[in-house]
């Protein structure tokens, strides 16, 4: 069958992420050198590894932003080789940059990013509330926020977009203790609601406590970690897998 014409595989039947010997290059450098990884729905997977190991490239590959050069991969039922564009609207990536407009207020940013996914007004307000940005902060220009508040705003945008798969690159960076607790609670709630979360972090204690599974990334390859993850509840079965509502 023509790969381009292949139907999108329904969620629940296939793993949310399935990479087999995946290779991705940055320039001419193979940032991912034959990575094999499977992530199932409702998991919170921590990616750990040294700088330059390939964590960010793996997240961007799963977000459909980096092309798959060799091997095969499916993310939320989409083939990475042929369906990268279809995949993007179903995945939320929080990268090193926040993706915010500095001249707009917090609520205007969250409304804009929510609107790209068709979020209703009440969903935007719920996202602001969840990340502690409702009230006075909602009307403040993003340029006037602290680094941690900007990170929270970016997370609120992710919540408003109702992604099925959350890809978080150093999500705790810049957050204060309250912000970190809010983030962890949000991620746990999202996973309980059926979303799948992959976190790349150097903050192993906090991110490790959040994760249900740990994967080491070394030299562009994934290695399962033997250590037991923190216990957590099973994902709810009556949700549509679209994360927080």
């Amino acid at each position: 069958m023509n790969a381009a014409a292949q139907a999108v595989v329904p969620l629940g039947v296939e793993p949310v992420i399935r990479l087999v010997e995946a290779v991705a290059v940055l320039g001419k450098f193979p940032a991912l050198a034959g990575t094999t990884l499977t992530v199932r729905r409702g998991e919170i997977v921590l990616l750990r590894g040294a700088n330059g190991a390939g964590k960010t490239t793996l997240l961007r590959l799963c977000a459909g932003l980096v092309p798959l050069v060799r091997g095969s991969g499916w993310v939320v039922g989409c083939d990475l080789a042929t369906q990268r564009e279809s995949l993007r609207s179903r995945v939320g990536l929080l990268g090193h940059a926040n993706g915010l407009y500095g001249d707009l207020s917090v609520s205007e940013n969250v409304r804009f990013w929510g609107a790209t996914a068709g979020a209703a007004r009440h969903e935007v307000e719920a996202a602001l509330e969840r990340m502690g940005l409702a009230g006075r902060l909602a009307d403040v220009k993003v340029d006037r926020l602290s680094a941690g508040q900007k990170r929270r705003t970016s997370l609120a945008c992710l919540v408003a977009r109702r992604a099925q798969l959350w890809l978080l690159d150093e999500p705790h960076a810049g957050l204060d203790a309250t912000g970190r607790d809010d983030l962890d609670a949000t991620v746990r709630s999202a996973a309980l609601a059926g979303a799948t979360v992959v976190v790349a972090s150097h903050e192993l204690e906090r991110a490790g406590a959040l994760a249900t599974r740990v994967v080491d990334i070394v030299g562009g390859q994934a290695h399962e970690h033997a250590a037991e993850p923190a216990p957590r509840a099973e994902p709810a079965s009556d949700t549509d897998g679209r994360g927080l509502q």
């Binding site: 932003l65 564009e85 993706g99 915010l100 001249d103 804009f112």
Partner: protein, 227 residues
């Protein structure tokens, strides 16, 4: 979301950013006004100024376009927003049309000011028929400039030294708009003895240019902003 919904969303966002930052109001409009005044100082003879005023209006517009394009893509690259737009899976054609539309609205404001300045500084004047030709000139010329600006802004955004690269890319491509809009405006103002009806073929050229870059730009913008 379909491409038109994305275009509306992006255009509204870009215009809201402008309303909040007031860069066009506080920097681009005064710059364009200064260019017109400097031309008046440099040429300093009423008959020459009246003769060349159509070209000066569009030269000042093209110079200002450069600032506007750099600004509209600076807000996208400052905190990785363009990357986030790609990641959100919204239609690249919608982003292209939205940014072009917002750019055109800002250019239109600028052109009204510049035409007013030409009337005041260069003693330019319109007949009723000339005013119709002027409106018919401004609309396709502005859309054409918006499309080209967005396309080449998207092309230059990832390049090193984009501030200097953009004028090198942009100016040769907008030359047909500069020529066509200048000739049509000469007809509208009756500059150099041009008849009003002489403007219509140039309006047709501007329309073809706008359509070509609108269609071509919407197809090319997606691949341009991909890694």
């Amino acid at each position: 979301m379909n491409a038109w919904q994305v275009a509306r969303l992006v255009a509204a966002k870009d215009l809201r950013v402008e309303l909040r930052s007031r860069v066009v109001l506080n920097q681009v409009l005064p710059f364009a006004g200064l260019v017109m005044v400097m031309f008046a100082f440099a040429l300093d003879k009423d008959n020459i100024l009246q003769r060349v005023s159509p070209g000066l209006i569009w030269l000042a517009t093209v110079f200002s376009l450069l600032i506007l394009v750099q600004r509209t893509f600076a807000i996208e690259s400052a905190d990785g927003a363009l990357d986030a737009l790609r990641g959100a899976g919204v239609s690249p054609a919608g982003v292209f049309f939205g940014k072009s539309l917002a750019l055109a609205v800002q250019l239109l404001t600028l052109e009204v000011l510049l035409t007013g300045l030409a009337v005041v500084l260069y003693s330019a004047s319109f007949s009723p028929g000339g005013a119709v030709v002027m409106v018919a000139t401004v609309l396709p010329a502005t859309m054409g400039l918006g499309f080209v600006g967005t396309l080449y802004g998207g092309l230059a955004i990832g390049a090193s030294g984009r501030e200097t690269l953009l004028p090198l890319l942009l100016f040769p491509v907008v030359a047909p708009v500069l020529i066509g809009a200048t000739r049509a405006t000469e007809a509208a103002l009756g500059a150099g003895g041009a008849a009003t009806s002489d403007g219509w073929p140039w309006v047709a050229l501007l329309t073809v240019f706008a359509v070509l870059f609108g269609v071509g730009g919407s197809l090319a913008f997606g691949p341009l902003i991909e890694e």
